[in-house]
Symmetry: C2
Subunit: 364 residues, 2 copies
């Protein structure tokens, strides 16, 4: 390693959080960010992140315990800010289509979800009880009082923005830092307060504009896969990066075989934005489910209803090891995926960033 | 100035072309890249670029002569590779809509275009006769023999790619370098050979993937507005940058008042992709024409037919100084626009890049 070569503002931030390197492993709910991955990433000097938005308070407690058994380093936990769900019933066309797929997989037809058995506050209180040092949230902003309480407990609180106006709202709400989610990012768009639909702003444009508008640190995310992306983010003014897709192929990640195969295929990988799986836009590798649901695009119910309706299909597809109905989330840098351990990946990223900074500054 | 601080591979390229700084002003056809802008940019040590795709050979000759009167430095000229135009007649809905707008502006209804009076080869021969040192093209690839002939005449030939597969095709065709047009870019998408519609890949993901796949230099473009964007592009592996929107507010550019006002407004600027003006996807600031045509999205005829049909509307809108029917092309970095002369802008960009590289390398 080359010692701590990061610029001063980055040094200050990573010291504050207790990391060695300004690299955050993105919380990837629904499987990939296992306790093993999170702990390995944190042990390597980066920041591991549990994505527990879909879990019950009991499950969250269990995951955090597992991480704590495997590392003494700081790590983060991410939750979804709940959205007002529509009472609307899905259209018959959507239900029929999902039912046909269920028949094909030999599982029960999708059921309308019951009322939630726990609240965001219930989930959060587990995180608070465990004194998790970093908390991030997506899809909105929790109560300001709640954020203030976390800050008073010395939690580092990170919000997610997909445009400048959302970043400004997050700073006003009292966050410690903001993830700038570029259009390159895999998985769900964190959009919550845009007046313009779902903003798809590339990181090269989003990061500097957000840096200019807010005082708190900006975390670049989307399409960053190696030291070049990290060095570029630092040049744009980011204080650290958050990388999801890059960690999907780590040994410790919970990524089913067909998903892994599609990431490591030697072909060019083209990703698409889709509402098919959850009712909310997300980026992933095209498959049969995305293709067939695109014909019903206008009738797909909003998140979280569509997410509930497709859960059994996604799970059955995973169990069968077939990628047809699986959400193969991936960012636009997916073709740069590498199969390494988390430690090897973090080491490579740090060493590459050093080399890039060295080579672009060689004639200064 | 800080002398030539660029990394060696960039130094070699700019020396080859005869530039001082690795900054190319994007060819912006249809007005913005005036001979005055092109010459000022080249005189400042960057590379000015005429966009003459819409002009007759006689007009191209005149523009090149004007540039040559104003500078002895190298500059470039850009053409559109012609596309097989469909014989299709536009739908009555589209024609009626355009006719209503024409009535509103008090101009004749749109006419179906006649057969072209000159060819791509006619346009190109003017450029060859003038021994223009840099030639770029968009929307396709000319004959390989044609590219070979240009290379033999010592012309630096640049193609435009919006995805890795297009970049590979451009290298195979014999180009000297490739513009990687990120999804952030304003104006028309250069897409021509993608198997996946119109790729919208952010620069942070596109540039390094293209750099990995081709041997020739990659020119980053899209969303780059200041030294941070340039330094980031260099970190990603680009050998130079191409910037369009950043030059729109230069005094020497040919940008009508309402367009300029929309770029320099203090509000956040959000851009959209639209086929409304030309039948081909392009990024610009939303206005009434984009809004109203979006209702007929599926019926808008392909480029170049729609482009011909909307020409009189765009021109009349410009003449009236009203932005309703004007194409307000802009990239996703538009809110970072600055009103400077070309010389001031280039000086600022070089000095900012130096500062950014200095500051991110301070602890190496």
């Amino acid at each position: 390693m080359q010692g701590n070569f990061w610029p001063d503002h980055i040094r200050r931030l990573i010291e504050q959080i207790g990391m060695e390197h300004p690299i955050i492993q993105a919380p990837m709910a629904g499987g990939p960010s296992t306790a093993e991955l999170v702990a390995s990433v944190s042990n390597s000097g980066a920041l591991g992140f549990l994505g527990v938005g879909y879990l019950t308070p009991e499950q969250i407690d269990l995951e955090i315990r597992k991480v704590k058994e495997l590392t003494n380093r700081p790590f983060g936990v991410n939750l979804f800010v709940p959205e007002i769900s529509e009472a609307a019933k899905p259209s018959d066309k959507v239900l029929n289509c999902l039912q046909e797929f269920s028949n094909e997989l030999g599982i029960d037809p999708p059921q309308m979800p019951g009322p939630p058995k726990y609240s965001f506050e219930d989930q959060l209180s587990v995180i608070i009880d465990h004194k998790v040092p970093v908390f991030s949230f997506t899809f909105g902003i929790p109560d300001k009082a709640l954020i203030r309480d976390l800050i008073e407990r010395d939690v580092f609180v990170i919000g997610t923005a997909t445009c400048v106006e959302e970043g400004v709202l997050l700073e006003e709400a009292g966050c410690s830092a903001i993830v700038a989610q570029g259009s390159e990012a895999g998985g769900h768009r964190g959009t919550f307060g845009s007046t313009e639909g779902t903003p798809m702003i590339g990181g090269l444009a989003l990061v500097p504009q957000l840096v200019d508008k807010v005082e708190i640190p900006v975390i670049a995310s989307g399409g960053i896969m190696d030291g070049r992306g990290i060095a570029a983010s630092v040049a744009l003014g980011a204080s650290t990066v958050q990388m999801g897709t890059a960690f999907l192929c780590c040994e410790e990640a919970g990524v089913p075989g067909p998903w892994l195969d599609s990431l490591l295929s030697s072909k060019d990988i083209s990703t698409v934005l889709t509402r098919a799986f959850s009712g909310k836009y997300a980026r992933g590798i095209k498959n049969r489910f995305i293709d067939e649901m695109s014909l019903l695009e206008d009738e797909i119910p909003n998140y979280p209803l569509q997410n509930s309706l497709t859960r059994s299909l996604r799970n059955a597809s995973k169990d069968k090891g077939d990628s047809d109905f699986m959400s193969l989330w991936a960012g636009q840098g997916a073709a740069m995926s590498r199969k390494l351990t988390a430690q090897e990946l973090v080491d490579a990223l740090v060493s590459e960033t050093y080399q890039v900074l060295k080579s672009i500054g060689t004639n200064l």
